[in-house]
């Protein structure tokens, strides 16, 4: 057990210092930084327009000035006359000005703007004006604020979309489906990125030791089995660290960007169901585990480290196929997709999507997870043997022949 940690620690220590891993680890940070940077630049360039408000009714004007709570525009308060506004507009000190005329209960407004000036969201001006007028009228009619609120309360309107499984209706709130698809998409992409990166990282790790003949010293000190598990465990610590960094970036990114990006504003994360999260996380963990373990075994088959990509490529190809199929599964539920969602090496991507978009029941997902878990046990058993038998084998035999060779 002691040596298990020695090897495990070594894997972590060595990789944490390697440029490959550092780049991998910082990828989400860099990505987030870029997005935030772009958003910041975009915010900076879209400056708020400068306008003036002129009116023959002073209380209405000051009420209008106060209503600009969202800072959709800046008001030059010193400009109070139409003449002054015209002059400033001509000098391009203003982007436009609003003239509000009150005649009895009639309120009319004109917004005059420069064509080369910054555009003002006139609906917000209009809304402010409308609500002010309403309050005024209500006051004239002697209505209380409460009565006013009741009068203008909108009708309750909700949409609901449903899907049918086995003839039974499964209700899904409108927003939820979108969120689930997005979640499944994110998880599938993450699975693919993690799988490709870490499968080649661990295969490289094993192959380098074998290629540089360190393996002989290692296996004479620590049994190949212990070594194998220690390496995989070490790799998991690295993956966990990466997940943590990615998650932190994700949370910060969502927090920061949801205020700026319309698409994210519309997402209501409170609709996310916990069982979907649990299933997706399980598929993520088990899927990555399966690929990492097999990749470690494949790394032990090569004689030199430059053969690693050759040995791992079948595995990454399957990963890519699963990734591609998961996109198909977003919109269709064919027999092929259904079957694929139960096959290990494919299920982590396909079943995630099928379950998330509501094309599979929780029972389907659980069965698929169990199959995946069992296959991990079998692959581990097979790979440990493969590893123990081949770490000292430097023959030039073809890799696939070696896998098939029993001994």
């Amino acid at each position: 057990m002691n040596k298990f940690w020695v090897v495990c620690k070594q894997v972590i220590r060595k990789n944490i210092k390697s440029p490959t891993y550092i780049v991998l680890l910082l990828m989400p940070v860099i990505l987030l930084g870029t997005i935030v940077g772009i958003a910041a630049i975009k915010n900076h360039t879209s400056e708020t327009p400068q306008i003036a408000i002129v009116s023959n009714n002073a209380p209405l004007r000051s009420a209008l000035l106060k209503s600009n709570t969202k800072k959709a525009y800046n008001v030059s308060k010193s400009i109070t006359t139409k003449k002054a506004a015209e002059t400033s507009l001509a000098k391009e000190k203003l982007d436009g000005y609003l003239t509000v005329a009150v005649k009895g209960s009639q309120v009319s407004a004109i917004y005059k703007s420069r064509t080369n000036g910054k555009t003002v969201d006139t609906t917000s001006l209009q809304n402010s004006l409308n609500s002010l007028k309403m309050q005024q009228t209500a006051a004239q009619l002697g209505l209380s604020a409460k009565q006013l609120a009741t009068l203008f309360a909108p009708a309750n309107f909700k949409t609901q979309s449903v899907s049918y499984t086995n003839g039974k209706e499964t209700a899904q709130k409108n927003n939820q489906q979108t969120i689930n698809s997005i979640l499944a998409m994110v998880v599938t992409i993450l699975i693919y990125i993690f799988m490709v990166s870490y499968a080649s990282l661990i295969a490289q790790e094993v192959a380098t030791e074998k290629g540089s003949r360190i393996m002989e010293i290692l296996v004479s000190s620590v049994s190949p089995q212990i070594q194998f598990f220690a390496k995989v465990t070490g790799m998991f610590v690295l993956i966990l660290l990466q997940v943590l960094v990615t998650a932190i970036c994700g949370v910060f990114g969502l927090k920061y960007l949801s205020g700026n990006v319309q698409f994210l504003k519309d997402l209501d994360l409170s609709h996310v169901q916990p069982n979907i999260i649990i299933i997706l996380v399980l598929f993520f963990i088990l899927g990555i585990t399966l690929y990492t373990i097999l990749a470690a075994g494949l790394g032990a088959l090569v004689s030199r480290s430059d053969q690693v990509s050759q040995a791992v490529s079948p595995l990454t190809m399957v990963g890519l196929a699963a990734y591609g199929a998961s996109f198909v599964a977003m919109n269709s539920n064919t027999v092929l997709i259904k079957i694929g969602s139960f096959i290990p090496f494919l299920s982590q991507s396909i079943m995630s999507v099928r379950y998330a978009v509501g094309n599979a029941t929780i029972m389907d997902a659980i069965i698929s997870l169990v199959i995946l878990a069992v296959s991990i046990v079998l692959v581990t058993w097979f790979t440990t043997r493969l590893y123990a038998n081949h770490v000292l084998d430097y023959s030039d035999q073809k890799i696939w022949k070696r896998i098939l060779k029993r001994n």
């Binding site: 002691n2 040596k3 020695v6 090897v7 070594q10 060595k14 210092k17 390697s18 030791e209 540089s212 003949r213 360190i214 393996m215 002989e216 010293i217 290692l218 296996v219 004479s220 000190s221 620590v222 049994s223 000292l392």
Partner: protein, 298 residues
């Protein structure tokens, strides 16, 4: 004490090791010789439990050698390997830790060992920045720094210049004095003859020689004479029982049909009194090796 009993191993059709048995006591050095493919590396791997023998067994201090005993082993494989990106210190600490020695202990011992093997470089130098010879020394230190009780060195002298070879000889002698059982393989009979107490020679997996080094030589009889005397090559070849005469330094090296012929040669050479050299010896290991292997060992 290491006991190897009746080991057999074959790979497919090829019989790599045939009925191999030997013993190495504590404080004893066994030299394993043989040509490439004679079964030396296979023997080492079977002792270390990296390969399962088809039959036969390996005992350490009377009990079967298993992976539990691996901490007492110091193993230098024929193909050397180090982590090129690690520093000398990290590398040695890691390998020693794998043999159960705490990093703090290794740190304390490292300077001493680097001095002993005259490593040119600092503890903080990356392995890849060291010369090949110095890398090899670091590998040796990593093999020996945990004071192993069983030392297995596969071709430790290959690639070492005479100065470094003698540093290594000193290192091996030191371990011997500490009571370690040592096995090493070598192509160079000079090293084997100088430091090994026992000798095992393999030819295509079969043991052709096995025993105490001096006894093996003696068993071939004193059939060699180094001679510096007034006698010429023709004179020497004329003596009955002299089978071969070769030039050797200022004199000749004679091969005899049997040790008794030596007396005749001595009488002939000294009939006019003083001669510079007469030395009758058994054949050198190198000659025995060639005789047994049937070809040159080079």
């Amino acid at each position: 004490m290491l006991q190897v009993k009746n080991l057999n191993k074959s790979f497919g059709q090829m019989q790599a090791v045939v009925d191999e048995s030997f013993t190495v006591n504590d404080g004893e050095i066994l030299g394993l010789i043989g040509q490439n493919g004679a079964g030396k590396t296979t023997t080492f791997r079977m002792i270390l439990d990296l390969l399962k023998p088809d039959s036969g067994s390996v005992f350490w201090n009377g009990h079967p050698f298993t992976r539990k005993d691996q901490d007492i082993v110091g193993f230098l494989p024929e193909e050397r390997g180090l982590y090129l990106k690690m520093t000398v210190e990290e590398q040695v600490i890691y390998f020693a830790e794998l043999r159960g020695q705490k990093p703090a202990v290794t740190k304390q011992k490292l300077n001493d060992w680097m001095q002993r093997f005259a490593v040119k470089g600092k503890r903080t130098d990356k392995i890849k920045d060291l010369s090949k010879g110095n890398q090899q020394k670091v590998q040796l230190i990593a093999t020996l720094i945990h004071d192993p009780k069983l030392v297995i060195l596969d071709e430790p002298f290959s690639g070492l210049d005479p100065v470094n070879a003698s540093l290594l000889e000193d290192g091996i002698e030191r371990l011997k004095a500490q009571g370690s059982a040592i096995i090493f393989s070598s192509h160079d009979m000079g090293n084997v003859e100088k430091i090994s107490d026992k000798l095992l020679m393999l030819r295509q997996g079969e043991t052709v020689l096995n025993g105490v080094t001096n006894e093996i030589r003696e068993s071939f009889g004193d059939t060699r004479i180094f001679l510096q005397s007034p006698l010429t090559e023709t004179d020497l070849l004329a003596i009955d029982g002299v089978t071969d005469v070769k030039k050797y330094q200022a004199g000749f090296e004679l091969q005899l049909a049997n040790p008794e012929v030596g007396k005749t040669v001595f009488a002939q050479a000294t009939k006019n009194g003083y001669i510079r050299e007469f030395s009758q010896q058994p054949p050198s290991l190198d000659e025995i090796f060639r005789m047994k292997a049937g070809v040159s060992n080079e």
